[in-house]
Symmetry: C2
Subunit: 124 residues, 2 copies
């Protein structure tokens, strides 16, 4: 039986406000050993910022706000979708993580390609 | 039949010299849309630097050389190993990428959790 997102995702939800500086977002990635942070405004998901975005800001010599460096059109998934369907979405958009959203549009987890890759190790 | 690393890995080898600044490493990640760069000294692998390391340097307020920010003990794999064994190595060391090394210790590719996650989409 193909696993669903809820069984595989990371449940630690790391968020930052869109008005924060990128140094604060970078601090969250360091502290939590994660590469992906959901960006909220008034509690609602408005973007995603990743270590790739921080690296790009360094390349551009720009240490602006999260809002200026984040991706605004966030690709998301729901907890009941099967892993094969969501893995396809990651590949199609060339992304390595996808926030998991409940029916009230709240972020309840983050599914990464690391979580999916771990499925290959079952029983090893 | 379980695939081997050679069948799944990315063949684009992105490298930077250990004496370069992190801005140069960040530029390579931006240009190639990748998160992982192999660090060489006199052509030999001496470290790995990732977008997570660049993000950590931003959190620490440090824009030093690649040598100061990279991880020196690199976990690697060989092209003939099966994907299940290498996926387990990624999970054990909590890393999302692993350089592929030939018998002469040259970097011939990079296997990431994104490549492994893509195997779940076969036929979708
Ligand atoms: C295109 S990927 C390239 C590097 C690599 N594939 C990765 O995912 O880190 C990097 C960009 O994707 C964006 N991104 C990551 N996850 C995303 C998601 N779930 N929805 C929208 N954009 C996302 C990041 O904000 C970043 O600008
Ligand atoms: C421990 S991971 C934590 C975040 C996330 N799991 C990831 O892989 O990006 C981040 C650290 O792992 C290191 N790293 C990544 N790939 C590595 C590899 N193949 N060998 C040794 N260290 C590696 C990076 O240099 C970075 O300092």
């Amino acid at each position: 039986k193909t696993p669903v997102v809820r069984d595989v995702m990371g449940e630690k939800v790391i968020t930052v406000d869109e008005s924060a500086g990128i140094i604060e977002a970078a601090g969250l990635m360091k502290q939590n050993e994660r590469n992906h942070v959901s960006v909220l405004s008034n509690g609602k998901l408005v973007g995603i910022i990743t270590s790739w975005d921080i690296s790009k800001a360094v390349a551009d010599g720009n240490t602006d706000t999260v809002n200026a460096c984040m991706t605004k059109n966030v690709i998301t998934c729901s907890p009941d979708e099967t892993i094969d369907v969501v893995a396809k979405r990651l590949t199609e958009f060339k992304i390595s993580a996808i926030p998991v959203i409940d029916s009230n549009q709240n972020v309840i987890g983050m599914l990464t390609s690391e979580h999916i890759s771990k499925l290959f190790t079952r029983g090893k």
